[in-house]
C-alpha cells in the first residue's frame, strides 16, 4: 500500500512539475506575443476584436504545438523506455522514436548499445568457438565412417536393431552437424524429427509414440515451406524429457502443421505431465523477453525453447515466435508461428543468424 501511495505521489509531483513548466512557457510566449501585437496595433483596423482573435490563435497554436510536438512524442518515448526496462523491447527498437533527444542522451543510448552488443558478440563468438572446437574434434566424415562401420558389423552379426539404431544416429548427426543452412524445408525438419524419435524409441520402446498429422489438404505446400533448422527437434526433445517420459502409461506427442494465407502454425502437443500455472507463466514471460534478457534466465529451464524462439524472432521479426500452453496432468502444447516462406530470398533484407 505504501509503495502504491508513494508511486501515486511521485506521479502527482511529476505531473504538477510538468504542468507548471507548461504554464510558465505558455505565459512567457503569450506575453511576448502580446507585446509584439501591442507595438503593431495599428495594423488591426478595429483594434480589440483582431487583438483577441490573434491571441486566441496564438494560444491554440501553442497548445497544439505543445501537444503534438512535445507531449505526445514524449509520452510515447516514455512508454518505450518503460517497455524496454521491462524487457519487451530491444535497444534498437528503443532508439526508433520520434523524439528529438539531446546529444548527451543519444550518446548514452549509443554507448549502452555498444556495451550490450559487445557483450552479446563476445557471448556469441564464445559459443561459436565452442561449437567449432566441438565440430573439429568430431570430424564429421570420421564419425559417419565409424557409424557405417558399426552398422555393417551389426548387420553381419545379425543385429538388425543395432544396425538400424546406428543408421538413425548417423542420419541425425549428418543433419545436425553437417547441414549449414539457416533455413530448411518442413519436410527435412520432420524427417529429422522422425529420426530423432526412432533413436528415442530404442530407449523407451512402445511407451512413446509420435503422430504427425498429414491430413491437411495443403500438406504438399506445407512440406515445401522453409523454417529455421532445428526448430522442431528441440521441442520434441523437451516434450519427451519434461512431458511424456515422466508420465505413467503411453505418451503421445503430436505434430500438427497448418498453413494460412500468411502464416505457418506448428503445434507440438503431448499428453505428458504438463506444468504448474506458475511455471507456465514464467516460461511464457521468458519467451516474450528480448534475447539479451531471456538468455540470462537459463537456470529456470526452457533454454531450448528460448533458443528456438530467439532464432525465429531474429530471422522473421518479433511478431512471430512461440507460445506454450499447458495444464498440469493433461499435457503441454507448444505453438510456433512463422511467416509462410518458400525460399530464403523471401526474407528480403532481414538479417539472418
Amino acid at each position: 500500500m505504501d509503495n502504491r501511495m508513494s508511486e501515486e505521489k511521485n506521479k502527482l509531483s511529476f505531473l504538477s512539475h510538468r504542468i507548471i513548466l507548461y504554464v510558465v512557457l505558455l505565459f512567457f510566449l503569450l506575453g511576448a506575443a502580446l507585446i509584439l501585437l501591442k507595438e503593431r496595433i495599428s495594423i488591426f483596423p478595429k483594434g480589440r476584436l483582431w487583438y483577441i482573435l490573434a491571441i486566441l490563435l496564438c494560444f491554440t497554436a501553442l497548445v497544439l504545438f505543445g501537444y503534438f510536438w512535445i507531449l505526445k512524442p514524449y509520452s510515447e518515448f516514455r512508454d518505450r523506455i518503460r517497455r524496454f526496462s521491462e524487457g519487451y523491447l530491444s535497444l534498437a527498437e528503443l532508439s526508433e522514436n520520434k523524439v528529438t533527444l539531446s546529444p548527451e542522451v543519444r550518446e548514452l543510448i549509443e554507448s549502452i548499445g555498444h556495451v550490450v552488443s559487445s557483450t552479446h558478440a563476445i557471448d556469441l563468438s564464445k559459443r561459436q568457438a565452442q561449437y567449432r572446437a566441438l565440430q573439429n574434434q568430431i570430424n564429421p566424415h570420421f564419425l559417419y565412417n565409424t557409424l557405417d562401420g558399426i552398422r555393417s558389423e551389426a548387420l553381419l552379426a545379425g543385429l538388425d536393431n543395432l544396425a538400424d539404431m546406428t543408421e538413425a544416429l548417423a542420419v541425425f548427426f549428418r543433419y545436425t552437424i553437417s547441414k549449414s543452412e539457416n533455413l530448411v524445408t518442413v519436410e527435412e525438419e520432420l524427417e529429422n524429427c522422425r529420426t530423432y524419435f526412432k533413436i528415442q524409441q530404442y530407449r523407451f520402446g512402445n511407451r512413446l509414440s509420435l503422430e504427425i498429422d498429414e491430413d491437411s489438404e495443403d500438406w504438399p505446400q506445407i512440406l515445401r515451406c522453409m523454417i529455421p533448422k532445428l526448430t522442431l527437434q528441440p521441442i520434441l526433445e523437451n516434450s519427451i524429457i519434461h512431458g511424456t517420459e515422466l508420465k505413467l502409461g503411453e505418451g503421445i506427442t503430436r505434430i500438427l502443421i497448418e498453413k494460412t494465407e500468411t502464416r505457418l502454425i506448428i503445434r507440438v502437443s503431448d499428453n505428458g505431465v504438463g506444468m504448474e500455472e506458475e511455471n507456465l507463466r514464467k516460461l511464457n514471460t521468458k519467451l516474450n523477453l528480448r534475447e539479451e534478457d531471456s538468455s540470462g534466465h537459463g537456470e529456470n529451464g526452457g533454454v531450448a525453447l528460448s533458443n528456438v524462439n530467439n532464432r525465429i524472432r531474429l530471422i522473421f521479426g518479433e511478431e512471430y515466435g512461440m507460445h506454450v500452453y499447458s495444464l498440469k496432468d493433461v499435457g503441454t502444447n507448444v505453438e510456433i508461428t512463422i511467416p509462410v516462406t518458400t525460399n530464403e530470398g523471401m526474407l528480403g533484407k532481414r538479417e539472418t543468424v
Binding site: 508511486e7 519487451y88 502464416r263 507463466r281 511478431e319 500452453y325
Partner: protein, 496 residues
C-alpha cells in the same frame, strides 16, 4: 487453406499499472466455434473490450482476417468488425426487426426507411434459417431467443466474420439453446466464426470444436479433439465438485415438510393456472423454460408490475410481496443492481434492518454487535470500506449477509450464478446453504439452472404452457443430460 479470423499474439494490456491481460495468445479460424471457459473473470471484460473496441496494448499484436488491426506500436481508436452478443440485448426498442438488422449496413443511408425494401432483403436470411420472425415486429415484443437471432443476423449482414456470444445460456433454456446451436452451425458452414464464452464446461462440450481455458488474465491451455471430450473439464472444478459430492453424501431429506408460502396464479384459461408451495428450510429451484415467463415472474417479485391474478399466502395469510419484510428478493447480478457504490459496507449492510432494529443508525452498541457478527461469518473486517473498494467476492458476501441480517422467511434469488466464476459460484453455493441453515427458505428463479442443481432440494420446471413438473433430489438424475451437475447426480445415485 485455413484462414485465421482472429489472432491475438502475446497481448499484454495494463490498466493503472496493473496487468489485465498477460501474454494472451489465441487464434480462431474461419468456420470455427471456439469455446472460452474463464475459470475466473479477471481480464474477461477487458478482453472483450479489446476485441470489439480496440484498446491500447502494452505489448503484442491483434490480427483480424490475417491483417494487423492493433499493436503496441500502432494504436488507432476504432471499432472492429466483431459483434458481441450478451445476455443483455443491444437491439433498439421501438424499432422493427428489419430496421435493427440493417442499421449497421453501409448502404443504410436513406433518410426515409423503406420498410418493404428492408423486409425483402431480410426474408431470404430468415428463410435459410427456417425461422418465422416478422420483420415488422418491434424488437421488444420478441422472445429472448429471437432477439439473439436478430443480433446474429445483424452481425452477419454487417459482414462481421466473428461473433462473440457471452453467457447466453443464462437467458436461454436448453431447448432454445439447441435452436441457437443449430443456427450457429449453419453460419459456421458459411465461414462465420464464433467465440462462445461460457462458465460451464458441459455447455462448451455441446457446441465447440476447441476450447481455450482462461485463468489469471491469460490462456492456460487449449483443448481440442479427445482432450475436449474427456473428463479434463472436471479438473477445473475439482474443489467445487468435491464440496458438492460431500454435501450430497451428507444430505438426507433435510426438508421438514411444513408449507410456508403458497403462490397461486390464475388466468382465464383454467389449464394455465399454476400454484405451488415453498416449504420451510428448503432450497427450491424454479426453472422457467420460457424466458418471457421468467421476466414476468421477476417483474412481479420486484414490484415492477402488479398482477391481480397472483396471490402470495404466507403461512395461510395473504400478503403483499412488495411491502412484506418477510420476503426478500435478490435481483439478477445483485452486486451491480442492489449495492450503493458510494456508501460504506455498514450502510449497505443495514439498509434493510429498520423493521428489526430501528435504532441501528444511532446506537453504537448495536453497530458493534453487527460488526462482530459480520466478521465472524465472512472472516474479514471490511466494515468501513466503500463498495467501490471491495472485490467481487466481498460484494457477493455483503449482499447475502444483508439477507441474513434482514432475516426474512423466504428469499427469492433471480439467476444467482449469472456472471460468477468458479470460485464465486462455490461461495454463492455456501452462502445459500448458510441461509437455509439459518431457517430462511431459498427460492432460485432461473432460465438455465446452471449450478442451482448443486444446492437444490427440489426443482419445479415450468414450460411455456404453464405445466409444472416437479423433481425431488432423488429424481435429479432424470433431468436432461446436458444440464451442468446432472451427470454428478446420475453417478452419485447409481452408486447408492
Amino acid at each position: 487453406m485455413k484462414r485465421e479470423v482472429l489472432r491475438l499474439e502475446r497481448v499484454t494490456c495494463k490498466k493503472a499499472n496493473s496487468v489485465i491481460l498477460d501474454n494472451f495468445s489465441l487464434s480462431i479460424t474461419e468456420g470455427e466455434i471456439m469455446g472460452l471457459l474463464p475459470l475466473d473473470t479477471y481480464g474477461l471484460d477487458e478482453l472483450l473490450e479489446l476485441l470489439v473496441h480496440n484498446i491500447p496494448l502494452y505489448y503484442g499484436y491483434v490480427y483480424y482476417m490475417e491483417k494487423c488491426i492493433n499493436s503496441w506500436k500502432n494504436y488507432h481508436h476504432s471499432e472492429n468488425p466483431i459483434s458481441l452478443i450478451d445476455s443483455e440485448s443491444t437491439l433498439v426498442n421501438g424499432m422493427s426487426v428489419a430496421t435493427n438488422v440493417f442499421v449497421y449496413c453501409s448502404e443504410f443511408h436513406n433518410q426515409v426507411i423503406q420498410n418493404e425494401q428492408l423486409n425483402g432483403k431480410l426474408q431470404p436470411y430468415l428463410k435459410d434459417l427456417e425461422l418465422k420472425i416478422d420483420p415488422d415486429t418491434p424488437v421488444e415484443r420478441l422472445s429472448q431467443l429471437d432477439k439473439i437471432i436478430v443480433e446474429i443476423l445483424r452481425a452477419v449482414i454487417s459482414g462481421h466474420r466473428l461473433i462473440i456470444l457471452r453467457e447466453i445460456s443464462t437467458v436461454l433454456p436448453e431447448k432454445e439453446l439447441k435452436v441457437l446451436f443449430r443456427i450457429m452451425q449453419y453460419y459456421t458452414n458459411q465461414g462465420y466464426s464464433f467465440l462462445y464464452i461460457s462458465l460451464h464446461y458441459e455447455e462448451i462440450l455441446q457446441i465447440c470444436t476447441r476450447a481455450a481455458i482462461m485463468l489469471n488474465e491469460g490462456i492456460e491451455t487449449i483443448l481440442e479433439g479427445n482432450d475436449l471430450k474427456s473428463d479434463v473439464g472436471k479438473k477445473f472444478y475439482m474443489d467445487y465438485y468435491d464440496s458438492v459430492i460431500q454435501k450430497l453424501k451428507n444430505a438426507d431429506i433435510r426438508t421438514e415438510k411444513i408449507p410456508l408460502l403458497e403462490i397461486r396464479h390464475r388466468t382465464e384459461k383454467r389449464d394455465s393456472n399454476i400454484s405451488f408451495t415453498v416449504y420451510t428450510r428448503e432450497c427450491l429451484v424454479i426453472q422457467t423454460l420460457d424466458t418471457n415467463l421468467f421476466h414476468k415472474m421477476a417483474d412481479i417479485l420486484e414490484g415492477n408490475i402488479e398482477s391481480p391474478n397472483t396471490e402470495f399466502l404466507l403461512e395461510g395469510k395473504k400478503i403483499s410481496i412488495y411491502s412484506s419484510r418477510q420476503i426478500a428478493v435478490l435481483k439478477e447480478e445483485p452486486v451491480k443492481s442492489m449495492l450503493f457504490p458510494e456508501m460504506t459496507v455498514f450502510d449497505n449492510l443495514c439498509i434493510s434492518l429498520d423493521h428489526r432494529l430501528p435504532a441501528v443508525w444511532r446506537n453504537q452498541k448495536i453497530r458493534n454487535t453487527i460488526r462482530q457478527e459480520f466478521i465472524r461469518v465472512i472472516k474479514k473486517d471490511i466494515f468501513n470500506k466503500k463498495i467501490s473498494e471491495l472485490s467481487q467476492t466481498e460484494k457477493i458476501e455483503l449482499v447475502y449477509m444483508r439477507i441474513l441480517l434482514q432475516k426474512p422467511e423466504i428469499v427469492f434469488l433471480e439467476q444467482p450464478y449469472k456472471g460468477a466464476d468458479v470460485e464465486q459460484r462455490r461461495i454463492i453455493c455456501e452462502l445459500q446453504e448458510t441461509l437455509v441453515r439459518r431457517g430462511i427458505s431459498v427460492v432460485i428463479l432461473a432460465v438455465n439452472m446452471a449450478d442451482s442443481l448443486a444446492v437444490a432440494n427440489r426443482i419445479l420446471r415450468i414450460d411455456s404452457t404453464m405445466q409444472i413438473r416437479e423433481y425431488k433430489q432423488r429424481e435429479f438424475s432424470k433431468l436432461p443430460k446436458n444440464l451442468p451437475w446432472s451427470g454428478l447426480f446420475r453417478d452419485e445415485f447409481s452408486k447408492r
